[in-house]
């Protein structure tokens, strides 16, 4: 019973936080560009609008199941990230998982959806998937290396243990292991599909991108999972580098601070081509990561 309530709470919280954060992002973005922008609730309205469309076009069974897989993947990811520390609540099934598992869970859903895109038969959609996978290949190397530095620092892959080790501000990951944070920051923006590392979505002048064929309720599902997944990733970084959160309010505060940082970076850089982004990841963040490894492992005074 506890597990069921807890899971429902986590899913609900990530959904609410998701549309509020992205609503804020649109407003924030507009103000930077000197527009009024939509209200903070706009993302909720958009999402609900999609869900109540009277008709949805499908291209066959696999096309339908792709969004279901990605949604199930988002639920699973949310449930495997502990939201709070030292609490019985908002833990989901995180005790049965670990950091490496979570990183892999982040990509299970998108790969399931890639099948749906493929079965739609639209080559521009598949092109978008290939771009996404290419970017994944680029970002995952420094991202994993940065997290590897954290796992090495705490000698565990358990998110709980890493969180527990950061018992006060002086022990926060961002202070004890700043290089790791610097290494993962830009790849992290890319996992959120944030500019300058975003892959073109459908609604641009050239029809391209993984979502080109989706509409109606299926698009609603894709939007929902995207918001929930973003929150799961934010909370994960909060757990690893910002000491986790003792209660719900602090969780929102820390996640929001992190979101503000990534949003501010995204806002001022235009999109790179996918190949440029990959090359960038393999040069700058990875180079920094290698320096981090040298400092952490190879030098004589490093433990």
């Amino acid at each position: 019973m506890h597990a069921v309530l807890d899971s429902l709470a986590m899913i609900g919280i990530s959904y609410v936080m998701g549309f509020l954060f992205y609503g804020f992002y649109r407003q924030f973005n507009a103000r930077v560009q000197r527009r009024w922008g939509p209200s903070i609730w706009q993302n909720l309205f958009d999402n609900l609008k999609f869900f109540f469309k009277s008709e949805t076009l499908s291209h066959g069974p696999m096309f339908f199941f792709g969004p279901m897989i990605i949604m199930a993947g988002a639920f699973t990811t949310v449930l495997f990230v502990p939201f709070l520390k030292d609490s019985d609540w908002l833990q989901g099934f995180s005790a049965s998982g670990n950091l490496i598992l979570i990183i892999y869970l982040l990509v299970v859903g998108p790969l399931g959806n890639a099948l749906a895109v493929g079965s739609s038969g639209n080559p521009y959609g598949v092109m978008g998937v290939t771009r996404g996978l290419t970017r994944l290949m680029g970002l995952e190397v420094p991202f994993f290396l940065g997290l590897g530095l954290v796992m090495l620092q705490h000698e565990t892959t358990s998110v709980h243990a890493i969180m527990a080790a950061q018992h006060d501000v002086a022990h926060w990951g961002i202070l004890t292991n700043p290089i790791a944070f610097a290494v993962i920051l830009l790849p992290f923006i890319a996992t959120q599909n944030g500019s300058p590392f975003d892959v073109v979505g459908a609604p641009v002048e050239v029809y391209a991108g993984p979502r080109v064929e989706f509409g109606g309720r299926l698009l609603g599902v894709l939007m929902t999972q995207n918001m929930m997944m973003s929150i799961a990733k934010l909370v994960l970084v909060v757990d690893l580098f910002l000491g986790g959160a003792g209660n719900f309010l602090i969780l929102i505060l820390k996640a929001f601070a992190l979101f503000l940082l990534t949003a501010a970076i995204s806002m001022v850089f235009p999109r790179l081509k996918t190949e440029q982004a990959v090359d960038f990841f393999w040069k700058v963040p990875l180079g920094l990561g290698v320096l981090g490894v040298i400092a952490a492992v190879w030098l004589p005074w490093s433990t």
Partner: protein, 586 residues
């Protein structure tokens, strides 16, 4: 009748595994005995063989009986059993040779095998066999016996020499860069069902050999060159060889336009992970290597057999000429789907457990740069996995035969279903695999067993995960989401035709090229590193080697000027040097 007989023969490895009692021994000549025995390590690989042999035999049974192929396959099984059961190097070598020659002759049974492939196959495998022979003879010279057991009393240099000879022999079989030249061609051109056996089993014999090395020289990895960070320094080199192999082979796989060739390159890459893990050499790493060997065997059998079914039904093997087979061959579609999930190491299938163990072992050895390089290879693998399922099964049918194909015959489907079941079962219960298959081997190798508190849990000192919980959560979420979706108002409408697309404001017709099969991944060349890898080939490496050798030979030939005085001077010089050396030596 002959088919029945053949199928019975394919069950012999299982019978050997189950019925093996005492070890056997024959005196060969003075002081040397042939011994056959079943150790936990050989039992592990024999289990793989026992599982795979009937599954590969079944597709081979289809159509008119090809008796020579049946006989050769039987011989191959015999050779591999001999190899695995061997308690001494003579039996091992006999088994190795039987395996090499019978697989070579089987490869020749394919109408597509050309001279170049046959030559490269036999040349590289003979190279491997001769290196093995040399290693065995040197081993005898140093120790005075042929038995496969811990070699005591060797100096460091003797150990290095032996490890190098044995290592090169087995790495050739595994297909490590740059010794992999024979792999893509022969896996591609071999008879379709037999490719599965080549990739899944024959290559594993190289892995068996590599895992055998730590039993021969237990402290070789650790004691030879000291330790680097928290792992053995000698293994660090091996680990990098493995990782570079995986990275290069993965990008080569992405650029292939032929299904079987892609799988061949992916085999090289996957075995590269195993090489890396053996380089790390800790119990976590060896556990990961064995797990990866197990998963790779299952996955490659599944994929090669599914692909063989497609080739049988359509006659096409290039990504460009297929498409939209999902509706025509649904079971093969699920076969390939489960296969690529396992290949990509996605949770909840067991490929993840293997990757997890290897990642954690690298973390444990504090070899983080290797970890990053391995993540690169395993993430890039997603691209070719996607290509492997998109190009044949999704998109648009791109040839007449792809439009009319039917589901593969039952001889192909039964193995696929069995393998899918095994993969899903292992994914649910990663701890069961560790308990039943991995731990006995680790204990026999005198290492700490991984241990697992329950069937579902995989546990390491760095934390673990629970396969059952993961699968249940994901399954429940999937059912819940799908159910909720149907509760919503509104109706679903199926698109009128496959050409009913948002296509840049135009209405595509049947003539519009809509299949993205072979082109996928081509744009990766724009990334400098990937472009560099794809522009270079191992053939180029060998050609450069030939050029360098020629240049060196020309330099040397300068000494032989045809002038007798120069010859006499040279002879005196060599004589004087030899004299000096021998005096100094005494």
């Amino acid at each position: 009748m002959i088919k029945l007989l053949f199928f019975t023969v394919s069950l012999t490895p299982a019978a050997t595994l189950l019925g093996w009692g005492e070890g056997l021994a024959w005196p060969l000549f003075e002081g040397v005995r042939l011994t056959l025995d079943l150790t936990p390590l050989s039992a592990f690989f024999l289990l793989l063989l026992a599982m795979a042999a009937p599954l590969v035999a079944l597709p081979m049974l289809r159509g008119t009986a090809d008796s020579p192929a049946f006989v050769l396959f039987g011989l191959l099984l015999l050779g591999m059993q001999l190899l695995l059961l061997a308690g001494d190097f003579i039996s091992l070598f006999i088994g190795w040779e039987i395996m090499t020659w019978s697989s070579y002759l089987l490869l020749l049974r394919s109408a597509r095998t050309d001279l170049e492939t046959a030559q490269s196959y036999i040349l590289f495998n003979l190279l491997s066999a001769f290196l093995l022979l040399a290693a065995i003879l040197v081993f005898y010279r140093f120790t005075g016996h042929f038995e496969i057991r811990t070699a005591a009393g060797l100096t460091d240099w003797q150990e290095i020499l032996l490890a190098l000879l044995f290592g090169l022999a087995f790495l050739t079989k595994v297909g490590t860069l740059p010794l992999h030249l024979w792999v893509p061609r022969s896996y591609d051109q071999a008879p379709d069902a037999f490719s599965a056996f080549l990739s899944a089993l024959v290559s594993k014999m190289g892995v068996y050999g590599l895992v055998l090395l730590p039993t021969l020289f237990p402290d070789a990895l650790a004691g030879l060159l000291g330790r680097l960070l928290d792992g053995p320094a000698a293994g660090y080199l091996l680990a990098w060889i493995g990782v570079v192999t995986s990275i290069v082979a993965t990008f080569k796989a992405i650029s292939q336009e032929d299904m079987k060739r892609l799988l061949a390159y992916s085999s090289i890459a996957q075995l590269g992970y195993i090489t890396t893990a053996i380089g790390v050499g800790s119990s976590l790493a060896l556990g990961g290597a064995l797990y990866q060997a197990l998963v790779h065997t299952l996955v490659k059998l599944l994929l090669f057999i599914s692909i063989a079914g497609i080739v049988l039904r359509t006659g096409q093997r290039r990504f460009n000429d297929l498409g939209r087979l999902m509706e025509r061959m649904p079971i093969s579609f699920f076969g390939v789907l489960i296969g690529i999930i396992g290949l990509a190491g996605m949770p909840p299938l067991p490929g993840f457990a293997a990757k997890y163990l290897i990642f954690v072992s690298l973390l444990d050895a504090r070899w983080l740069l290797l970890l990053a390089a391995m993540v690169l290879a395993s993430t890039a693998a997603f691209v070719y996995c996607y290509k492997l399922i998109y190009a044949p099964f999704l998109g648009h049918a791109n040839s007449a035969s792809a439009k009319t194909a039917t589901e593969a015959p039952w001889q192909y489907l039964v193995p696929q279903l069995v393998l899918m079941g095994l993969l899903v079962g292992l994914g649910l219960f990663p701890g069961l695999g560790v308990r039943l298959l991995i731990d006995p081997v680790l204990i026999a190798l005198q290492m700490d067993p991984l241990g697992s508190p329950s069937w579902g849990e995989l546990v390491t000192p760095y934390g673990g995960y629970d396969g059952v919980v993961l699968m249940v959560v994901f399954g429940t979420a999937f059912v819940l989401v799908t159910g909720l979706f149907f509760l919503l108002r509104g109706r679903m409408r199926r698109a009128g035709s496959p050409y009913d697309l948002s296509y840049a404001g135009e209405v595509p017709t049947a003539e519009t090229p809509l299949h993205y099969g072979a082109g996928m991944g081509r744009e990766l060349r724009r990334i400098p590193l990937v472009g560099w890898i794809l522009r270079h080939s191992t053939q180029g490496f060998y050609a450069a080697l030939v050029r360098q050798t020629r240049t060196a030979a020309e330099l040397l030939s300068g000494f032989y000027s045809g002038n007798p005085q120069a010859w006499v001077l040279l002879a005196v010089l060599v004589f004087a040097l030899a004299l000096q050396a021998s005096i100094g030596g005494i």
